[in-house]
């Protein structure tokens, strides 16, 4: 099935007899994959007001189209959406609705918040075909419950997104990245934390094999130069940082898209942690890693079938298996029973027939 309008989507869900697998660009094949394919091709940017920092688009609008339209006005999505297709072995073009359904945020999440933080409105169709709107097109809105947040990262299990609205930010004119090479991931976390705890407004803090610890500053030219200088001084105890200007954007795209893991065999895991827990987790995993969000996000490439969640324990965060299919290992972090019961209760009310990506999240 392929739907091109909210009305078609509503009718399709009302009339469908069995489970559906909801697909935007089909670039994030995570979790259960059963059911009839339902391709959401509701496309087009229905509103873009640069002076109000607001964009509204159909959920099936390609991410690339959104990015191009914003770039032409010197603006961007604050949370720096990243494409996982290549590392997950999936082709296709990422859609803006898919980005929301998976709450995908890139390196700037550490400073500008996640996808869910920039999302200000949604329209979706629940599992019975009823259209629901929540939030809107203004950036401050506390009218009623915030189902916008609930929909972000729900992987289609509460409803199928038809339209999404974002608050935007001006794109920065200049960026620079400081690199401290020769740090292990564990050593890097302390350097990243020091930088993130400074007033210099770091918008990226990660570690990549072959590069080392990376810290990004963005903004107006003189300000970037000033903050890069102050950060270099701050980082002196950890090594001698070098500054990358022209290659900065590429470095962060490579980190966000996990270029070093593309085409590599093994299972790919994603851990969200307190940054200070990352060194111990990385040591227990003993596998190649990429760090983002100051160490709060650990990407781990483990041999096929390994339960990295168990291997990394104990930690107070959560882990998702992004690529890998061995049975007996849950894709999403199993939740404590009372929270799982709440989640199941919500699913039962929004999708009483259990047809939306069934079994995907738990």
């Amino acid at each position: 099935m392929r739907v091109e309008s909210e009305r078609d989507l509503s009718e399709a869900l009302r009339d469908v007899a069995g489970p559906v697998r909801i697909v935007g660009g089909d670039t994030r094949p995570v979790g259960a994959r059963g059911g009839a394919r339902l391709s959401v091709a509701i496309r087009g940017i229905s509103l873009y007001e640069p002076a109000a920092l607001t964009l509204v688009a159909g959920a099936g609008t390609p991410l690339a189209e959104v990015e191009a339209v914003l770039a032409a006005e010197g603006q961007r999505l604050p949370f720096e959406p990243v494409r996982w297709g290549p590392v997950l072995g999936a082709g296709g073009d990422s859609t803006i609705g898919g980005v929301v359904a998976a709450n995908v945020s890139g390196p700037r999440r550490v400073q500008a918040g996640a996808c869910r933080d920039s999302l200000i409105g949604v329209r979706f169709v629940d599992g019975t075909g009823v259209v629901v709107k929540n939030g809107g097109r203004v950036m401050k809105n506390v009218t009623g419950y915030d189902l916008v947040k609930l929909m972000a990262g729900s992987w289609g299990t509460l409803g199928v997104l038809s339209e999404v609205s974002f608050k935007l930010l001006p794109a920065s004119t200049t960026e620079a990245t400081l690199i401290v090479a020769d740090l292990t991931p564990a050593e890097a976390v302390a350097a990243l934390s020091a930088a993130l705890g400074s007033p210099y407004d770091v918008t990226g803090a990660g570690w990549m094999p072959g590069v080392g610890a990376m810290l990004r500053v963005e903004g107006l030219a003189e300000s970037v130069a000033y903050r890069a200088g102050r950060l270099a001084a701050l980082l002196a105890p950890f090594g001698s940082p070098r500054q990358e200007r022209d290659g900065s954007a590429t470095l962060w795209r490579d980190l966000g898209e996990l270029v070093v893991f593309q085409g590599q065999p093994g299972d790919l895991w994603r851990f969200s942690l307190r940054p200070s827990e990352a060194p111990a987790v990385v040591a227990r995993l003993g596998c190649p890693v990429v760090l983002d969000w100051g160490g709060g996000l650990v990407w781990a490439l483990v041999p096929e079938g390994v339960d990295a969640r168990a291997l990394a324990a104990p930690y107070a965060g959560h882990a998702t298996r992004m690529r890998g299919s061995a049975s007996g290992v849950a894709t999403f972090q199993p939740e404590p029973a009372p929270l799982a019961a709440l989640a199941a209760g919500l699913r039962a009310r929004f999708d009483p027939r259990g047809i939306l990506n069934p079994g995907s999240m738990g």
Partner: protein, 477 residues
């Protein structure tokens, strides 16, 4: 404004219910003497008052859970209360409800600078969260104007904003985790010091749920390193439209100030009489604040000066010293107090698309003239969150009703131009009956389903947010 008829069975059982609460809570944690419960009869929306059945003031999550279990068993509604500063009646009791106040739970539980978070008991005041970390160079970003008094619990319930949220976001963007006690008395840990949810974003829907899904007793909050400095400028204009256009141009130019505040002539006059901040005599003024090192501030203000020049400002005043910066903010920060000096007022909170600002200001002026009530405007212009203040006289029969009618019309206008009823204060009882202006029945049904899951018998703050007719069947259950 209507409230449901109090449940006579509960009123008749008051003595037994209070005795059961006393049996599990310390003696001073249960108040039922009407002379003492009077202090809890309203919040900052003081036009509406009602004495509660009783008030409980627990000192721990365990005590909150114990009190909720009893109320759940007795089928007694519970109204959670932080500091009682809600402008929407979020903490207004009903006669058959127990008020659960968190004021005694105000401890700092953990501060972690490498991981940049603080964990506090939720009765702690907003400003004292920053107070706990500022010596180390950190702060908690959301800054509602009641921040000296308001509690984190209420901030979470209403998803509070503030003047600086253009850059730093509102409560939901700075909240990492909560300890939540359900109406049934179950204690849940949701989120934590890590980022993002493992499954459904329950934290996201709890924040802003106006105390209807559970009682938040502890919160993990993101803290940020304080910027090196901040400096405001004051820009005066001879027309609201021009000031609005200047805001749009600043945003388009790629500068992101931490705050852009807007005041119109009635508001400028009133605050000038009250606070003597030395504001220019003009139609509209903007206060724009930027942050960073002195050089960074100069760079940003240089751009803003260039942009403002295109709009022929009647004044462009840059703060050269701390004292001048203080004076620029003085009028804005005294605005509500100043209006309170000359009149009773009702403070609205609708948000509009920034592009609709000139139209909405003009329409408000016309509506104000038609209704014969003055309206002053002071608001967060960068994000379109309006705060029209409607002036009325509480002693004049019928004036409050006329004021409320005008308020409703203004909020409908906000929705009409693509905005919403409330940007940061919440729905409470105040905007409850206007919800159908913004939402279809199916939209409200979807929201109420969430409450069905967390609080199946609808005992937590039940008569708020949703129009009574729509929630009637559920509340009766």
């Amino acid at each position: 404004m209507q409230m449901p008829i109090p449940n006579p069975t509960i009123l008749a059982r008051k003595a037994q219910i209070v005795a059961r609460l006393r049996a599990v809570l310390p003696a001073d944690a249960v108040i039922d003497d009407p002379a003492e419960t009077r202090a809890y009869e309203c919040d900052a929306l003081s036009a509406y008052r009602c004495q509660p059945l009783a008030v409980v003031l627990p000192r721990s999550t365990a005590e909150v859970a114990a009190a909720l279990r009893i109320c759940h068993e007795e089928r007694v509604p519970v109204v959670p209360r932080g500091a009682g500063t809600s402008l929407a009646g979020g903490a207004m009791p009903s006669e058959d409800a127990v008020v659960l106040g968190l004021a005694r739970m105000n401890a700092v539980l953990e501060v972690n600078y490498p991981d940049r978070f603080i964990r506090v008991e939720a009765g702690r005041t907003n400003l004292s969260v920053t107070g706990a970390v500022e010596e180390s160079g950190f702060f908690y970003a959301p800054d509602p104007s009641s921040q000296l008094a308001c509690a984190i619990a209420g901030n979470i319930a209403m998803n509070s904003g503030g003047a600086h949220c253009l850059k730093y976001g509102v409560t939901t963007n700075n909240l990492l985790g909560v300890t939540l006690v359900t109406m049934a008395g179950e204690v849940l840990e949701i989120g934590g010091a890590h980022l993002d949810a493992p499954g459904l974003d329950l934290l996201g829907v709890i924040c802003g749920s106006e105390g209807q899904l559970g009682v938040v007793t502890e919160a993990t909050l993101r803290i940020l390193a304080k910027p090196e400095g901040a400096r405001p400028v004051l820009i005066g204009f001879d027309a609201n439209e021009v000031a609005g256009a200047c805001v749009a141009d600043i945003i388009r130019a790629g500068v992101l100030p931490v705050a852009i505040e807007f005041m119109d002539r009635p508001c400028i006059r009133a605050t000038e009489d009250f606070a003597h901040a030395g504001y220019p005599d003009c139609e509209a003024l903007l206060i724009v604040e930027v942050e960073g090192s002195p050089a960074e501030i100069d760079e940003q203000l240089g751009l803003i000066r260039q942009i403002a020049a295109h709009h022929n400002p009647v004044e462009f005043r840059e703060a050269e010293t701390e004292e001048e910066a203080r004076r620029i903010w003085l009028g804005r920060k005294s605005a509500f107090g100043a209006m309170g000096q000359i009149n009773d007022y009702m403070c609205l909170d609708g948000t509009i698309p920034v592009s609709a600002l000139p139209l909405v200001l003009r329409r408000i002026g016309e509506m104000s003239a038609e209704a014969g009530l003055d309206v002053a405007n002071v608001f967060h212009a960068g994000d379109g969150n309006m705060h029209p203040l409607i002036l009325y006289d509480a002693n004049l029969p019928g004036d409050l009703a006329r004021c409320e009618a005008l308020g409703a019309e203004i909020l409908k206008l906000c929705v009409e131009v693509g905005g919403c009823l409330t940007g940061e204060h919440g729905v409470g009882v105040e905007k409850r009956d206007l919800m159908a202006v913004q939402f279809e029945a199916s939209d409200l049904e979807a929201q109420m389903r969430v409450k069905d899951v967390f609080d199946p018998v609808w005992l937590l703050n039940p008569a708020k947010v949703f129009p009574l007719a729509i929630s009637a069947a559920r509340r009766a259950g």
